[in-house]
Structure formats: structure tokens, C-alpha cells
Amino acid sequence: MMEDKIHNIKVLTIITEASIESSLIDDFESLGVNGFTIIDARGKGRRGSRMGGWESNSNIRIEIICDADQAKKISTFVKDKYFENYAIVIYISDSQVFRLDKF
């Protein structure tokens, strides 16, 4: 049985335009992110309502489980590259996982 140690980690959540998904995935690879989860979403923010229907009007919600430094590194990179021209929000929350080696 794997010893059941619990480890504190961060969950970085990015909610942004669906049209930059492939660009973000490329960024993640270069940033050494080895895992992420993407969910289709819709919503409203400063850049108006994006209630879906077709790609250029729908959002994606990306979760990345990582440690505090990676969370900082990724969010800063994404902030500098996309905040100015794209509809995007980023928040970081605390969480616990079983196997630290996985992330």
C-alpha cells in the first residue's frame, strides 16, 4: 500500500477565451507543466458576456495542480502574455494531495 502521506499543493485556475487553448498548451509545455485539466465554460466579465454557442464566443476553465513556485511562475507568464489583449482571469487556491511525486 502506498504510504498515505498528505501533501499541501496549489491549484492554479485560468478562465479565458477558448480560441487561445492551443497557444496556452504550447506555453505549458515550455513551462514544464506536465499535467492540466480543461473544461468548456461560458460567462461574463469586463470584456462582456461570452455565453458560448460557437468557439470564438466561449470560454475554457483550466486547472493546474502544482507547487507554489510553479503556480507563481505560470501565472506570471500567462499574465504578462495575455492579460492585455484577452478576456482572462487567474486565481490560485490551496489543496492537499496523496502522492506528491505525481505533480
Binding site: E17, S19, I20, S22, S23, G48, G53, S56, Y86
Partner: protein
């Protein structure tokens, strides 16, 4: 639907040697760039748009809308007007030059434009993959090859086209809402530019010795503005361009105009120019 168009084009391609099509292909790439280069100054100086917006909208109008082409195919079908079968090939070729010219107009040829992502987006965009896929399968398999699969796709063609039109119609209607800023100019541009492009299309048609139907179809391609492939590419390569503007114009105004009035008009223009010049 895209596969069906691709299949048709591919089958025709197999019948003709690629070499004979070369002039058409080069001319069409030139036409796409030309239209973008004409639209840009009009938008920048007349329309007073920012550089990014002008370049993005110009790229939309230099490119094509597969939906408009599909409706034209159905329309020419009901009127059984003949047109050169390698149109789908020209359609695919017309998608690309406008995007490149648009990016260069906005960004200059700086290396930090993520060309890889742009090409990734353009060539791996769902629309183009299906279209080129259909072309390739049609071309390799040739007419007999796809005999068993062919009927399926063409039955499907009309049905899917209807759903597609319905969806685009709804979205187009929503677009009209955001006409506040630049409204009037966009409406004028959204109707006059396609008409102007149609004439250019006919001229190219005559130059390439096409039939009346061929000229009409080429005029329709020239007059149509992209609203799926180009917006996606622009969103990545010219981020500062406001997507609502270009979409309102290409989908809200031009697509609706083309589907309801444009297609029959462009055929008439082709007939007119064909008779006067060859008359």
C-alpha cells in the same frame, strides 16, 4: 459538409492533371492577397480603424466563407448552372494568403509573431482539416474509389448545410447588436466591398477563361468573408484587433447579405460581363 465539398473537389482533381490547374491556383492566391491589400487602406483611412482592426477585417474579406460557397453550390444545383469543378481547390487556396497578408500588414514580418501557432491554428483548424481531407481522399481514390462512401456524404450535404445556415443565422443576428461603434461604416463596407470583390472575381474568371458559372462562383468566393478560419488565426496573431468588429462585419452583415441577395447578383454580374466582353 466540408468533407462532401472536399470529396467533390478531390474527385475532379483526379480527372485533370495538376499542371493544367496551376495558372488558376496562382491567380487565386494573387487575388486573395490583392483583395486584402485593397480593403486595408479603405478601412484604415476611410473607416478610421486602428491598424490592428483594419488588417484583421481586411484579412476576413480577402479570405472566403465555406458556408457561402456551400449555399452557392446548392443554388447553382437548383438552377443547374455548370461551373468548373475544381472550385473547392481554389476555395482552400483562398483561405491562406489573406491571413498572411493581414498579419504582415499589422505586425510587419517580425519573428516574434508565433508563426508556428498561427499555422497550427490555420492548418489544424477543424474546417480546413475536413476540407483538405476530403480533397485528398477524393483525389487519391478518384471517382470509382469513393463509389461506396460517396452517396452517404452527398445525401448528408444538404441536411448539414441547413443546420449550419440556421446556426450562422442566429449568431449573425446576435452580432448585429454590437454595431454601435463604427456601425454605419461597417454596414456600408459589409455590402459594398463584396460587390466590388465580385467584379474583381469576374475579371479573374475571364482572365482564366472560365465558364459563366465559373466566373459567378469565383465572384462569390471573392465576395465572401471568412468567419471561422480567419477569426481564429487573427485572435492569435493580431491580439489587439477587436474580434467583435470583424465578426459583426463578416458574419452579421456580409454573410447575411450574400446568402439572401448576393449569390444571385454575382451570377448576374458574371452573365453580364461574360456577354459584354465575349458578346
Amino acid at each position: 459538409m466540408l468533407i462532401a465539398i472536399g470529396l467533390k473537389g478531390g474527385v475532379e482533381l483526379a480527372k485533370q492533371s495538376l499542371v493544367s490547374l496551376l495558372p488558376d491556383m496562382v491567380a487565386v492566391i494573387f487575388m486573395g492577397s490583392l483583395l486584402t491589400l485593397i480593403a486595408y487602406p479603405v478601412l484604415l483611412y476611410l473607416g478610421k480603424f486602428k491598424v490592428g482592426d483594419a488588417a484583421s477585417i481586411a484579412a476576413h474579406y480577402g479570405s472566403v466563407s465555406v458556408g457561402t460557397f456551400a449555399v452557392a453550390v446548392a443554388y447553382y444545383g437548383t438552377k443547374n448552372v455548370f461551373y468548373e469543378e475544381h472550385m473547392p481547390l481554389l476555395l482552400v487556396l483562398l483561405e491562406i494568403p489573406a491571413i498572411l497578408v493581414g498579419i504582415i500588414l499589422a505586425k510587419g514580418i517580425t519573428k516574434n509573431t508565433q508563426w508556428s501557432i498561427v499555422f497550427h491554428e490555420v492548418f489544424l483548424g477543424k474546417g480546413i482539416v475536413l476540407l483538405v481531407g476530403g480533397l485528398l481522399i477524393g483525389w487519391i481514390a478518384g471517382p470509382e474509389g469513393i463509389a461506396s462512401i460517396e452517396p452517404l456524404f452527398f445525401d448528408l450535404f444538404k441536411g448539414v448545410l441547413a443546420i449550419f445556415l440556421l446556426e450562422m443565422g442566429l449568431i449573425a443576428a446576435m452580432q448585429v447588436g454590437s454595431l454601435k461603434n463604427h456601425g454605419v461604416f461597417l454596414i456600408a463596407f459589409g455590402i459594398l466591398m463584396p460587390l466590388f470583390s465580385a467584379v474583381i472575381g469576374c475579371l479573374f474568371g475571364i482572365m482564366l477563361g472560365m465558364s459563366v458559372g465559373g466566373m459567378g462562383m469565383l465572384a462569390t468566393l471573392a465576395a465572401s468573408a471568412s468567419y471561422i478560419a480567419v477569426p481564429a488565426a487573427m485572435r492569435i496573431s493580431i491580439p489587439e484587433a477587436n474580434p467583435t468588429l470583424s465578426l459583426t462585419a463578416s458574419l452579421g452583415i456580409t454573410f447575411s447579405f450574400n446568402v439572401i441577395f448576393g449569390i444571385p447578383i454575382y451570377l448576374k454580374i458574371a452573365e453580364l460581363m461574360h456577354s459584354t466582353i465575349t458578346g
